[in-house]
């Protein structure tokens, strides 16, 4: 059954998956493109600058992959009004886990492509002294961050219309409260508090807060 669900997920998201895997393949090579030979006195400068410039592209690909796969996970069910899912001899929890695992597997596939390309790009680049390549660290961070974002987005996209409406309403109330707090010159802003909590040290999104550097000191 997992294979069928994986195949339906692949059909829905293959364009996005192929595009994002292509980007994951290209970015490490593009970031190393300006690297001079290690005998050039400025090679460390150029490598660090390129690595810093391209470092933002990896979390962006992770979020894009999570978004595309989470959206694609429920598309076949939504289109078929859940008739196929209801005919299956499995519980809803089991079905949900199968759908989740199918998307996660495709996400890890993009991670594997990134791992391969960062490994090859780092191996091909002569490193000046004191600089290090981190292909494995970067790939694992990508996978963890992607999995975290995918889990949140998968859950959100699987909500019922009523729950989704509640979340939208709560968000609107939050924004109105935040604007009101600003207008009243209050020191406390609920939106800031929530954003701080979302990216705080105990949040699942804290994994995005790091130096995503393929080459670093």
């Amino acid at each position: 059954m997992f294979r069928v669900i994986l195949s339906s997920q692949w059909r829905e998201s293959r364009l996005a998956v192929l595009l994002l895997a292509g980007l994951a393949l290209a970015f490490p090579f593009l970031s190393m493109r300006g690297a001079a030979s290690s005998s050039d006195p400025w090679s460390a400068w150029d490598l660090l600058r390129a690595s810093t410039t391209w470092s933002t592209s990896y979390p962006v690909v992770a979020i894009a992959a999570a978004l595309a796969l989470a959206a694609g996970a429920w598309l076949p069910d939504r289109r078929g009004k859940h008739i196929y899912a209801l005919t299956l001899p499995v519980s809803r929890s089991h079905y949900l886990l199968l759908r989740f695992a199918a998307g996660l597997l495709l996400l890890l596939g993009i991670g594997a492509v990134l791992g391969l390309s960062t490994g090859v790009a780092a191996a091909r680049t002569p490193l000046p002294p004191l600089l290090h390549a981190y292909p494995l660290g970067l790939t694992l961070r990508f996978c963890l961050a992607g999995a975290s974002a995918y889990t949140m987005l998968f859950t959100l996209s699987g909500l019922t219309a009523r729950a989704a409406r509640l979340i939208v309403a709560a968000s609107l109330v939050l924004i109105i409260l935040a604007v009101g707090a600003d207008l009243l010159n209050l020191k406390w802003n609920p939106l800031v508090v929530i954003l701080d909590a979302m990216f705080g040290p105990y949040s699942p999104l804290t994994v995005f807060r790091a130096r995503w550097m393929l080459i670093d000191v």
Partner: protein, 338 residues
């Protein structure tokens, strides 16, 4: 005086300037002088307005803050905390001797404050006082620090920046310095006097690009340097501006901070006691230890700031996976056909 009339007046003056000026450069110079005097006038007006709105003065040690009576309950403890900080940093003898400017806070434009704002306010008052004390430093130390005084302790970002400079700049002593060689670190930080600082710091192969970074005024020497890598032409360009140091000023600030921290109370007094000796002697006197030991500590502090691999830690991995599990379990309770 508000800004608007000043700006309107300057616009009127600009329109009134003779359109058929005989000499446009002279006209421009005249206009600049008028604009400068107008800006001064506007600034003085602003100051006068603020002075007028400040109805109370808080005094803590030598820190004086002009403020309003309504803000006094906040300004008073903040100024006291700031003075305690100044005393701890510079010692009573120095703090009592130096001229500190009257600080202005609040007045009619002031917003509301809360009790929890007091530490932030104290930090601001202390920083202003510290800036004034550092600003009265003798020329030798001022030149060495290039005006970048260690007003507040350097954070992890600044340390990482120093480390990155040490790694990416093609300066000869950088690698040995990171390995803990105090002589190399002294060179990196511009201590000691050498006849050819450029040659000591950088190999000639790096000079052409260094010349571009030196931000020198354009000259005829550029072409042979940039196009043909002629090192003497490059040297001329770099020396006509400022030789980019192997590490930014944050490196020198850190050394100063370490010396003052190591020396404890009275360190700043020892630093400024004898302006006739070299910077390294004064740092050693302030720290109460040989300058080589201080430089070894500096290198160790920088090495400790190494960010390392982006590999997520075990704690972070567990945290994220735990969150994912919780969210998934919760999502089972609510769903499409739940």
């Amino acid at each position: 005086m508000s800004r608007f009339p000043g700006v309107a007046l300057s616009a009127a003056l600009a329109l009134a300037a003779p359109l058929a000026a005989q000499d446009s450069a002279a006209t421009l110079a005249r206009m600049e002088m008028r604009l400068d005097s107008l800006q001064r006038l506007v600034a003085e007006g602003d100051r006068a307005a603020l002075d007028g709105s400040a109805t109370d003065t808080v005094v803590a040690g030598r820190i004086r803050v002009a403020t309003s009576a309504a803000l006094r309950p906040f300004v008073e403890p903040a100024a006291a905390a700031a003075w305690t900080g100044v005393l701890a940093r510079f010692g009573p003898a120095i703090a009592a001797k130096r001229q500190l400017p009257i600080q202005q806070f609040g007045g009619s434009r002031g917003g509301t404050l809360e009790q929890r704002d007091i530490p932030e306010l104290a930090t601001a008052f202390e920083a202003t006082a510290a800036r004034a004390i550092w600003g009265q430093l003798d020329s030798l130390l001022s030149r060495w620090l290039e005006g970048s005084y260690p007003i507040t302790p350097l954070g992890p970002d600044a340390l990482e920046e120093v480390l990155e400079d040490l790694v990416r700049m093609p300066a000869r002593p950088n690698r040995a310095c990171l390995d803990g060689d105090p002589g190399a670190c002294a060179s990196v930080l511009g201590l000691g006097s050498v006849p050819d600082r450029l040659g000591e710091w950088y190999p000639p192969a790096a000079w052409a690009r260094l010349a571009r970074m030196a931000n020198a005024p354009r000259s005829a020497a550029e072409e042979p340097c940039y196009d043909h890598q002629e090192i003497e032409a490059c040297r001329a360009i770099i020396l006509s501006a400022r030789i980019p140091p192997p590490v930014g000023m944050a490196g020198r600030q850190l050394l100063m901070q370490l010396a003052l921290d190591a020396g404890g109370p009275g360190a700043f007094g020892r630093l400024t006691a004898d302006s006739g000796v070299t910077v390294e002697h004064r740092l050693a006197a302030a720290a109460g230890m040989p300058v080589d030991s201080l430089l070894v500590e500096w290198a160790a502090t920088i090495r400790a700031a190494t960010p390392g691999s982006p590999m997520p830690s075990a704690r972070m991995t567990l945290l994220v996976l735990g969150w994912c599990a919780v969210v998934l379990v919760l999502s089972r309770a609510e769903g499409r056909w739940g």
